[in-house]
Subunit: 484 residues, 2 copies
């Protein structure tokens, strides 16, 4: 064995068996976003890394549970749990009452803008809570973190990473019109065959659909740009130089996208995007006999065969051999559990990407949708009977399940691999496209096209002038000759 | 453990331990293309698959070596080895004498067109040799192949797969201007930051560079389209319906691209493209003491410390602990061996992508180039001294090496995984983008943009008309009133 070979082997061992343990910082997130990243944290701890989660004192979903490798760094914010609960409730209600479509988009936009104002205020207080807390920032600096993981829906993780001088990565489900992925992540989204998220379109589009999709991208882009614009000045101030939210986001080393091609329609992406949808799914554990999740007052009409639970292990339920169908609001986490265990779905979407997610599952033949605003109990029953009794639904979801399980590396392992990669190499610059260095008109080659058109125009102008000149000259000579 | 869990486990075992063995058909290729695919074949055999390689009787590089899992199906063609050798020689000479640049492109195009005529004639005879050999086609049909692997530079593998009713995949290094990847594979290539292959540009481009790149894409597209156009009628005739080479290529399930982000500049791609560059590299084996590969007459001036070999194990040589630098013509296979073993390069490019490959390695600080047409022995010596003595070259190539070795799954394993995936699932349709169903103007949304512009124009026209009408009417009324 040569020295080079030994070095190579040592390199491989150090890569495969990286159990020295690094320090990972997690920017706080709420709701299903937190549930998803929690799985990554658990896996990082299993691999002997030390994980620190920043938690605002008013956080709703994050429940600190300490162990030797997991630290929750709680910091003060001037609001309580009920504030976040209120924002989420307003958000869901605004959405359910104004399900966006091209005809209702303006009203939807106005309603959502009101809720977003609250959301941004809370987010800004969460940001200030860390960035203006010098003692905390000092402590974080001393902790020598090697990477920060954040969900860019909850801003400022990137600022903290830049201030600490460490690389950062994102975990993201989506942004409206994929504006963030497109403008900040530099992924091309051709509107001709990539349906805009929230448009409830699929990749099989008629001419009319493609017009709707085209408009949808631009409307959503406009909405996102206006609703998030105020962050540009916050980011500039925090980083002490003129910048934008988008420019800062573009510095993310890797984007862990919480979908995969079992769920998504194939579309272009860049090498620093990794699709890890379903990373939270795992084989099911045994269950109690009958289950029902319900938070609130017990209805008087409830039958004796129904039990109420505040929380149930949904993944274990879907993995139960007697699970025949899944009535779901259509969140990506739940849909992935259904795909993982191969359970057909009845979708009752409520807000955000849920309606769009159910459209994906319908297009792939694995779900039926009922409208929560108009449905009767007969509608729900019919939908359930359809997905249970028509074998195509089970067949289709099983096909998705086979695709999901047949990957070279499991989604969770890939997510952790790339986090560790960024820690090992202090980034992943070799995956970052040069598009980040271009302005928007350079990116679209508008300056080049403009220059070439100008050249062509000049040539045409000169040729025409020459022709006219010769015509006149020789014309005159001709005439002269004729006269002579 | 529930029944679902057991099924899941069984599914996973069947995926991981697929050793039942399938039947793989390989379309013939020549030169380094064959050397690369040979590694995949060896791995498939290790995994107990049966591999059949189609070989034209006049093949130059494929040397049939039989074993129980590997069959070479030799078929007659009306030319001998010397014909292919002649085409390759002409190709290299035409390229070396007319190294393409924007100023010399027309001469280069004319010279290459002559050689390509010969190449297409040979390729057509190779195609006919299989497609018109009914006995062979019958035999292939009976052999129940599950997948065909081909390099699309050597046409017709796709036709054979379609005629046999089996899925097919490609192994591809590049096509000029990436025309095939772009137009047939539907990958977007933004000319603003993705340098056109053969342009010798990098992803860091000035305004002038971007103009050159833009023109380069269009010139190469034109060259590829005209030089390969004749295959459209061949494909239509062979498949018995009007089609094109490109449309047929678009049906490939997976494209195994023979590069990776250690070598490539990051750029968009689609989920059915897998970057497996360097799959042929492996740890080095011991070597004899001093080595020299030279085929031809021994020069009288050769020193006593130099030995001549007809063939050497290049990978083992580069993995030798005393290997300090690699003088290479810049083929991708060789460059990957240098990256794998972390050896800085002196590039002496000759033809095809070689000059461009060396530009990549120069941009990444791992190589120096010398011009084969003009170099002196002092130039070569200086170049060698530079890469050996300036530590940055070793550091940079070691950085590429670390990136290369630090992947979740090794390139060869990924290549084989996706071949087996296509065999297990009879294709990989979930990775195929809907762009394949669109015409070029639909793909670029030109019909949608046209329609929307027409709508805007109509609205402007109507509003103007209305305004003019009101102005005239109220103007007249005004005048009338004035008069009254």
């Amino acid at each position: 064995m040569s020295i080079n070979n030994i070095l190579l082997l040592a390199l491989q061992i150090s890569i495969l068996g990286n159990t020295l343990g690094g320090n990972v910082l997690i920017w706080p997130m709420e709701g299903s976003h937190w549930l998803n990243v929690k799985m990554i944290i658990d896996e990082l701890i299993k691999k002997e890394h030390n994980v620190t989660v920043l938690v605002a004192s008013g956080a709703l979903f994050i429940t600190p549970t300490y162990n030797s490798s997991l630290t929750f760094e709680i910091y003060k914010v001037p609001f309580g749990k009920e504030k976040i609960e209120g924002v989420i409730k307003d958000f869901v209600l605004a959405w359910m009452e104004n399900r966006p479509s091209i005809s209702t988009i303006w009203k939807f936009y106005q309603e959502i803008a009101k809720v977003m104002e609250d959301f941004h205020m809370v987010s800004r207080e969460i940001c200030d809570g860390v960035l203006k807390n010098q003692k905390l920032m000092e402590k974080l600096k001393k902790s020598k973190f090697e990477v920060l993981l954040s969900d860019p829906v909850f801003p400022c993780g990137d600022i903290v990473a830049l201030k600490l001088g460490i690389p950062f990565m994102y975990s993201l489900r989506f942004s409206p019109a994929s504006t963030v992925e497109k403008h900040c992540g530099k992924i091309p989204y051709p509107p001709s065959y990539v349906p805009a998220i929230l448009s409830e379109l699929t990749d099989q589009m008629s001419f009319t659909d493609r017009i709707r999709n085209f408009i949808s991208y631009h409307l959503q882009d406009y909405m996102f740009d206006t609703l998030w614009k105020s962050w540009d000045s916050y980011y500039s101030k925090a980083l002490g130089r003129p910048t934008t939210l988008c420019e800062t986001m573009g510095k993310a080393e890797i984007w862990l996208m919480r979908t995969y091609w079992d769920f998504e329609f194939p579309r272009p992406y860049l090498p620093n995007f990794e699709f890890v949808g379903g990373l939270h799914c795992k084989p099911a554990q045994p269950l109690p006999k009958i289950l029902w999740r319900y938070k609130g007052k017990k209805p008087a009409t409830l039958g004796a065969n129904t039990r109420l639970y505040d929380w149930i292990p949904q993944n274990d339920l879907l993995g139960h051999p007697k699970a025949k169908a899944f009535i779901t609001h259509g969140g990506t986490n739940g849909i992935y559990e259904a795909i993982y265990h191969g359970i057909p779905m009845v979708g009752v979407p409520m807000f955000a990407d849920q309606a769009d997610n159910i459209v994906h599952m319908k297009a792939k033949g694995a779900a039926v949708e009922v409208n929560i605003n108009t449905m009767t109990s007969a509608d729900l029953l019919n939908a359930l009977r359809t997905v249970i009794n028509e074998p195509s639904y089970k067949e289709n979801v099983m096909r998705l399940s086979r695709i999901h399980h047949d990957q070279p590396v499991k989604p969770l392992d890939r997510a952790v691999f790339w986090i560790e990669f960024v820690m090992r190499h202090k980034g992943a610059k070799h995956l970052r496209s040069a598009a980040h260095n271009l302005t928007w008109f350079q990116y679209h080659s508008l300056d080049v096209i403009g220059f070439l058109l100008a050249c062509v125009a000049t040539v045409i102008f000169l040729v025409t002038k020459c022709c006219l000149f010769s015509c006149r000259k020789f014309g005159k000579t001709g005439k002269k000759k004729k006269r002579e």
